[in-house]
Structure formats: structure tokens, C-alpha cells
């Protein structure tokens, strides 16, 4: 999947705490390697259990350095209030507890409520879409590769995304990286050919 100029990885070895969603969704796209530059990738035990339930093999990706932590102490009061107000599940609460212990890490989640809580607490929170697009910036995928991944999301993943919004994202990537769909090139080519012949 890596090709040409995009073979070289950056050396940014930041830390990340991950909820189950992004790991499951990236595994569904066979693209877990795009989070391999996060060292370590920390998940609480409850998230590990959730991933095992849905995508057992995701935890055995060779490029990922996973650190599983069992949370023993209860969440601190502010997190406890937020978790009750936003009906967060165990995995989300424990992930947020971990990010509180590693405040410079990125918190990866696709759950809107968990994200709201994370941002409210002042942390950097991102989801699968951001992580996929980041792969271009980090030279792990070409813009064309990323467009292909985005197009596969509706049929191959359990990530819920409004189709019109996904199309806007695809168009933005095409615009920013001047990537045109092959079918448009083909149509233009045949149009020009017809014009020359007739």
C-alpha cells in the first residue's frame, strides 16, 4: 500500500489513547498501519475486550505497539459528572481516564459523546476520518490511496457517516491534491477524440 514518494515515514512518535471505534474501523479497511507512528498506542482493558468482541485480529497487527492498561481507580469527579451527563460507556470513561494521565497524547474516538467530553476536558480528540486524511500528511498513503479508502467506508465499515458529507470530504481531498477521478479523464479523452474525428 505504500508506494513511490510515500514510502518514507515521519519520525513523529507521539502517544495516543484509543477508544475501540477507530481501531475497529481502520481494521475493517485493512489500514491499521496508518496509526503505527503512535508510540505507544494505549487502550484500557475494557476497550481491548470490546475490540476482541468485534475484530479480534485487530489487536495482533504487526506494526502497532499496543499498551493495554487496566483501570482500577474510579474516574476523577469532573470526568464522572461528564460521563453520567453524556451516558459514556465503560470503555469511553476508561479511555478518558487514561488521557487524563497522558494529557499530551491524542485521544482517538468516533463517538460524539466521548469526543465532546474529551474536548470539554481540554484534550486533543480526533476520529477515523481525521486519521485517514492525516495519512497523506504523514506520507503513509498517497492522496489517491486515501480517496480509495474514503470511498470504501460506506460498504466496508461500521463507521456511520452521512453520504453527502463523505462526498464533500472526497471533493475537498481531490481539490487540495488536484486528484481527478479517472472517469472524468476518460470522459474528456473520448469527448476530445470524437471532436477530432468528426
Amino acid at each position: 500500500m505504500l508506494n513511490g514518494d510515500y514510502m518514507e515515514k515521519t519520525d513523529s512518535k507521539g502517544m495516543a489513547v484509543c477508544d475501540a471505534g477507530p481501531i475497529i474501523h481502520l481494521d475493517e479497511l485493512d489500514s491499521l498501519d496508518i496509526i503505527s507512528d503512535f508510540h505507544p498506542l494505549i487502550i484500557p482493558k475494557s476497550v481491548e475486550t470490546e475490540i476482541i468482541r468485534h475484530r479480534q485480529n485487530a489487536l495482533h497487527h504487526p506494526g502497532i505497539v499496543l499498551k493495554v492498561i487496566e483501570i482500577i481507580s474510579p474516574p476523577e469527579p469532573r470526568l464522572l459528572i461528564l460521563s453520567k451527563a453524556l451516558s459514556l460507556d465503560k470503555g469511553e470513561i476508561e479511555s478518558l481516564s487514561l488521557i487524563q494521565e497522558n494529557p499530551d497524547a491524542i485521544f482517538m474516538t468516533d463517538d460524539a459523546a466521548a469526543r465532546l467530553a474529551g474536548e470539554e476536558l481540554g484534550y486533543k480528540v480526533h476520529g477515523t476520518i481525521g486519521i485517514i486524511l492525516r495519512a497523506i500528511r504523514k506520507k503513509m498513503r498517497t492522496p489517491k490511496d486515501v480517496l480509495e479508502l474514503l470511498n470504501r467506508i460506506p460498504k466496508e465499515t461500521t463507521l456511520f457517516l452521512r453520504s453527502a458529507l463523505l462526498e464533500k470530504i472526497i471533493q475537498k481531498v481531490e481539490r487540495e491534491y488536484s486528484v481527478k477521478k479517472d472517469k472524468y479523464f476518460n470522459a474528456l479523452f473520448y469527448l476530445a477524440l470524437c471532436f477530432l474525428i468528426f
Binding site: S12, S87, A112, G130, I132, I136, E176
Partner: protein, 64 residues
């Protein structure tokens, strides 16, 4: 009230059934209704769109 039918993965269904069998809920319908209510309370369309748009900017132009 509206009725909808859907398919659940086996594992999720077993967990739902277990909650009913152990007496935590009257039936499967009550669990699904409670889960949906909680989800809808915290997943507003505007909020989800805002997060995705922020993610697109970070993905394409962020620093980390």
C-alpha cells in the same frame, strides 16, 4: 408507537438476552429502547458534523 425490525449480531443479541434472563430488564425491547434513547440524547447531527469537519482540517493541515 412505531415498530421496526432489525438484525443484531449474535454476540450482541446474547448479551441483550443475558440481561433479560438475569432480570435486569423486562424484555429485549426495553433494552433496545433504552440504548436508542441514550444514543440519541448524546449524538446530535450538528455536533457530529462539526467534529467531522474539524477532523478533516486536522487531518489535512494539522501539526501532529
Amino acid at each position: 408507537m412505531k415498530a421496526i425490525s432489525t438484525e443484531l449480531p449474535d454476540q450482541i443479541y446474547l448479551e441483550v438476552k443475558s440481561l433479560v434472563d438475569k432480570g435486569w430488564f423486562k424484555n429485549e425491547d426495553d433494552i433496545i429502547l433504552e440504548a436508542l434513547r441514550r444514543f440519541l440524547d448524546t449524538h446530535k447531527i450538528e455536533l457530529m458534523e462539526k467534529f467531522i469537519k474539524e477532523d478533516v482540517e486536522w487531518g489535512l493541515h494539522g501539526k501532529d
